[in-house]
């Protein structure tokens, strides 16, 4: 813990169940170093509260209305200590174990909470040094049941949160550390690598046609030659995307089946 903050953590409790928040409130009374600065009943509230209050610690329920715990983490970034709370979710638990992420299993008691809190200073220190939390997208992908792909993408635009169903996505374009997601004529920027997005999307519906582009196959109208060796795909929206040689081979394989 950095000295200017002393040994106090400002915490936000996120759980859609009133009784579950009550348990944490009660058990945290024994830990005067933890101050609950906000309680949130859903993911949207949580994203907003984290942005405004910049807590040190987040108790994050995995299954919640609107945004689940992983999506909240995607939008808040990992510059804070996170303790996941869940009742039962075998895939999420496997992901937590694999990445040594702290979690509490409902029902939990004072002793288990103390163990998790003991690790918070270490977590905060590590995060400043580059973070011990795995990238949220990767954690979320591993916590999904096998063979289940992303159905929507969450994007934060200032304080607003957009949910983009992947069926509405035309294409994604890599822009340095970001991807630009093009859906319904709008572009949304999200801090993520295009490779990790590619992995999370259903390969039967989305194809990496170029180092910098993933295209929604449903939107492809035609493929045209462009120059000597390269091609472009033309989408229903009229947009044209470059296709690399490898991308062209993959595209032909998929489209000609």
């Amino acid at each position: 813990m950095t000295s200017e903050r002393g040994n106090r953590y400002r915490a936000i409790v996120v759980d859609d169940e009133d009784l579950a928040r009550q348990v944490l409130r009660e058990l945290l009374q024994a830990h005067p170093e933890v101050e609950i600065v906000a309680e949130c009943a859903n993911g949207f509230e949580a994203v907003k509260a984290v942005a405004e209050l910049k807590p040190d610690l987040l108790f994050l329920d995995v299954q919640m209305p609107k945004l689940d715990g992983f999506e909240v983490l995607e939008l808040t970034g990992s510059d804070l200590a996170v303790i996941f709370v869940t009742a039962y979710d075998q895939y999420a638990l496997r992901a937590f174990e694999a990445h040594a992420v702290d979690y509490l299993l409902k029902p939990f008691g004072a002793e288990r909470l103390r163990v998790a809190l003991d690790r918070v200073p270490e977590r905060l220190g590590d995060n400043r040094l580059g973070g011990r939390l795995p990238p949220p997208m990767e954690l979320a992908a591993e916590a999904r049941p096998p063979a289940q792909y992303l159905e929507r993408i969450v994007v934060k635009d200032g304080t607003r949160v957009h949910l983009i169903p992947v069926r509405k996505l035309d294409y994604a374009e890599a822009q340095d550390d970001y991807v630009a997601l093009c859906a319904e004529g709008k572009k949304h920027l999200k801090q993520q690598t295009i490779s990790s997005l590619e992995k999370a999307l259903d390969p039967a519906r989305f194809l990496r046609v170029h180092r910098s582009y993933i295209v929604n196959l449903e939107r492809v109208v035609k493929i045209e030659p462009y120059g000597k060796e390269t091609h472009v795909v033309v989408l229903t929206s009229g947009a044209q995307l470059p296709v690399s040689r490898a991308g062209y081979a993959r595209l032909r394989e998929v489209l000609e089946g």
């Binding site: 579950a20 009660e26 009943a41 209305p65 609107k66 979710d89 409902k106 999904r144 289940q148």
Partner: protein, 356 residues
């Protein structure tokens, strides 16, 4: 695959079985055919070996003609024709062999003597071939009965697995752990309510465990289970959860498979109410007409919510159970209308009602 040729041990046994037959053939050639002992042996032994192999061919006819008393004439004709053909070929082989042996001085004149034994050889050939047919039918019958046993054992294993799966599916771990967590919360703030919830949860578990053993229960038993389940969930979700029930009194005694509605209501909570911060409703309706019992479970849901992690497992389970109980006699239809998710069940009406 041929049952004997495909298996070395069986082939050995089969050829061993031919040893007394070889002796018999040699003996008959000597005594009935009028050949000398040496001639009989020299001619009979290789011919027997050849025929032992030729008889195996009847398996292919046996396999395609199943034994059935009503139409036994056709396979009988087929086997007799085959016997005549194979035996005829055998006679030709015997004549060729005799002609070959006659080249040697020791067997001079064998050609002619063997020609006289043609009738004997042909008759033996037909009989031996038909013996082979009988043996193959016996083998086929043994194999069929073993396959039937295996199938039965397999079916039992599958049934047991389904039972175990059903037992596991009955009680959703999420529900149990979340309920325990709610009880833990209440012990501090409202001990009386904590106790009430313990009792409700116990009641629910006891009912669930009892129901799995029965093949049919009265609709009202299932509804009592659902009430119990929802009272526990109501403690967890508070005012977020509302439940309405419109069940006609005349359907309460109708028999239904146990635990068919409970998973639907559980889904309604998991994918409806729990995804709605402002809460949602669940409605249960049951009524009957002349032929069928119709039950509808509907709930409010968030059309933009993520597809569930359990991904319709409950629904698929219910569909399979209905199919197992009623075949094509029952229907399950899922419809969505705005923010309303609806599962409609149609079950055949049973005249005989269960004790209410």
């Amino acid at each position: 695959m041929h049952p004997i040729l495909g298996n070395l041990r069986r082939l050995g046994l089969y050829l061993l079985g031919w040893v007394p037959l070889v002796a018999l053939i040699v003996y008959l050639l000597k005594v009935v055919g009028g050949l000398g002992w040496v001639e009989s042996a020299a001619l009979g032994a290789p011919l027997s070996f050849l025929y032992a192999l030729a008889c195996l061919s009847s398996w292919y006819t046996c396999r395609t003609t199943t034994l059935n008393r009503a139409v036994a004439l056709e396979p009988a004709l087929a086997h007799l024709t085959a016997a005549a053909v194979v035996s005829g070929l055998w006679v030709l082989a015997a004549r060729a062999l005799a002609a070959g042996l006659a080249q040697f001085p020791a067997f001079a004149g064998l050609n002619g003597r063997a020609a006289k034994a043609t009738g004997l050889i042909f008759g033996l050939g037909v009989l031996l071939y038909l013996l082979g047919v009988v043996m193959h039918y016996a083998l086929l019958a043994v194999e069929a009965s073993r396959e039937a046993q295996e199938r039965e054992a397999q079916a039992q294993v599958l049934a047991r697995e389904a039972e175990l799966r059903a037992l596991k599916a009955q009680v959703n771990p999420h529900f149990i752990f979340n309920s325990l967590h709610s009880i833990s919360a209440l012990t501090g703030s409202d001990p009386a309510k904590a106790r009430e919830m313990c009792i409700l949860l116990g009641d629910f578990l006891r009912r669930t465990l009892g129901l799995g053993e029965k093949s049919m229960i009265a609709l009202q038993e299932e509804i009592a289970l659902i009430d119990c389940f929802l009272r526990v969930e109501k403690v967890r979700f508070g005012t977020r959860l509302t439940f309405e029930e419109q069940v006609n009194a005349d359907v309460l005694g109708q028999p239904v498979p146990p635990l068919v509605l409970q998973p639907l209501v559980e889904n309604a909570v998991a994918h409806g109410v729990s995804n709605l911060p402002e809460g949602g409703w669940i409605r249960l309706r049951a009524a009957k007409d002349q032929q069928s019992l119709s039950i509808v479970v509907e709930n409010r849901f968030d059309p933009e919510a993520l597809p569930s992690r359990r991904n319709g497992m409950g629904l698929e389970n219910v569909r399979q159970r209905l199919e197992a109980c009623y075949g094509n006699g029952a229907g399950l239809v899922v419809t969505t209308e705005g923010d309303c998710f609806r599962v409609s069940l149609t079950l055949p009406l049973e005249k005989r009602e269960r004790g209410a």
